[in-house]
């Protein structure tokens, strides 16, 4: 049963990465169903050895309900590099991970972890900051007790890189001239994919300033890279909506910018800015990403896959009020 389940997970992973428009999970693998029938999947795009990062894990049931709310314990084991037995003594302390609701979904308040239908709760469990002391393959075991008393435990493996493939906090931001409203010869859907279905760009406030403009003005910028229509995960639209909502409250702290992933989805053509920022040397690309750039042009923070309102608000409030 265990191997059968693992084989199913393998098949899913392999089938999910063989053709467009699908991307590929390059750093994580789901585990087999564990105690309580829960399957874990690491959703972090980039974890780098000896760099503080954010580990986010989805916990799902076999019938695609989400484990939501509360906190879970996460225990870690270093698996090595896949070639030799892992050296002893490398580890990370067991840590409590809190529930991070997808923007616009219930947080659950003080509820214990509960299996929910997607309409009643969706999100990931996250730890930040967390630093892994060695590159290679790691296993996380997520465990706890559900609201109904059921114990659960689920394993997932993931990769920690020796060197980053994408920019990290502290790196200098690229001065990209991403297309904005009014840029010649750029179709509206290349600025926001929703323009293809809605007939207009729904969040114009996110498309007046380019990243290069913000850098030239020495202004902080919150940049979301996402394709609300063509995203095949469930996070891109809600995160773009969240950034749009925050732009109305925190316009005095930063410029707010949305960069659409595709110049032309059907032609599989990326926007140049996306290629420059998000495509790895191997050609892989994951989204959504949110970057906070400081007035000095350096990346202050970044979030992959999803981010909560609370995380972004805390980062924005730490910025000085603009004159």
């Amino acid at each position: 049963m265990r191997l059968t389940s693992a084989a199913v997970v393998l098949a899913i992973l392999l089938s999910a990465c063989s053709s467009p428009p699908v991307g590929s999970p390059t750093s994580s693998g789901g585990g087999s169903p564990g105690e309580g029938g829960i399957v874990a999947e690491v959703a972090s795009f980039q974890l780098v050895a000896d760099h503080p990062g954010r580990l986010i894990v989805a916990l799902l049931s076999a019938d695609n309900r989400w484990l939501s709310f509360g906190t879970v314990q996460m225990r870690f084991a270093f698996l090595g590099d896949g070639k030799a037995s892992p050296p002893p003594g490398i580890g990370v302390a067991t840590t409590s991970a809190k529930f991070l609701p997808i923007p616009g979904t219930p947080s659950g308040g003080d509820k214990e972890p509960t299996l929910t239908e997607p309409a009643d709760g969706r999100g990931l469990y996250g730890i930040e900051p967390i630093t892994f002391p060695a590159a290679g393959f790691w296993q996380v075991t997520s465990s706890g007790r559900m609201e109904d008393g059921t114990l659960f435990s689920a394993d997932a493996a993931f990769q920690v890189l020796a060197e980053p493939t994408l920019r990290l906090p502290g790196d200098r931001a690229l001065a990209s001239d991403n297309p904005v409203i009014g840029t010649p010869d750029v179709p509206p859907a290349a600025i926001d994919s929703r323009a293809a279905t809605e007939g207009h760009i729904p969040d114009p406030e996110l498309h007046h300033v380019s990243i290069a403009d913000a850098l030239r003005a020495h202004e902080p910028a919150l940049v979301v890279f996402a394709t609300p229509v063509y995203c095949v995960s469930q996070f891109c639209g809600p995160i773009t909506d969240l950034v749009s909502a925050l732009s109305r409250t925190y316009a005095n702290r930063a410029a707010f910018i949305h960069v659409e992933i595709y110049r032309d989805f059907q032609a599989n053509q990326l926007n140049d800015t996306v290629r420059d920022w998000l495509q790895t040397p191997s050609g892989d690309l994951r989204e959504p990403w949110v970057y906070l750039i400081g007035g000095d042009g350096k990346i202050l923070d970044s979030w992959d896959t999803m981010v909560t309102r609370g995380e972004l608000e805390a980062a924005l409030k730490a910025l000085p009020v603009r004159k």
Binding site: S15, C17, S18, P21, E117, Q139
Partner: protein, 133 residues
């Protein structure tokens, strides 16, 4: 604490296999696009249409049953980008309808359009859409 050897091997295999599949032609992430039964995309839309004119019930059927499966369907290996685009664009319209409380006429038409596109996508990857109704 070292995990059991079998667990280690399976876990490493999963990561290694997954690590080998990035290609320039497959640019967006599938993380958590759900890996369940793809025909739930079609059956969930049937449930949503059957629930009308109760918009709240239709939305729950759409979110709970169809939504994740539609993402997975659009990401199905071998599905042409134009077909995937049709599914995702139609899904965006339905999501917009629910978000803005569209008229019954508009919501029904958009759900029917999405249902037709989801069924076509299923057929395109060799899966028969389940009967509706």
């Amino acid at each position: 604490m070292a995990p059991p050897q079998r667990t280690v091997l399976v876990a490493v295999a999963v990561v290694l296999l997954a690590a080998g599949c990035g290609t320039p032609s497959s640019p967006t992430a599938t993380a958590l696009s759900s890996a369940g039964d793809l025909t739930a995309a079609s059956s969930g839309l049937c449930l949503a249409l059957a629930a009308l004119p109760d918009t709240a019930a239709a939305q729950r059927a759409f979110v709970n049953t169809a939504h994740a499966a539609l993402h997975s369907l659009a990401a199905a290996p071998g599905l042409e980008r134009s077909v995937a685009a049709g599914v995702l664009e139609s899904m965006q319209r339905v999501e917009g309808d629910f978000a803005t409380i569209a008229t019954q006429k508009t919501l029904t038409a958009d759900l029917q359009d999405l249902s037709a596109k989801a069924d076509a996508a299923l057929r395109a990857i060799g899966q028969a859409p389940p009967p509706c109704g």
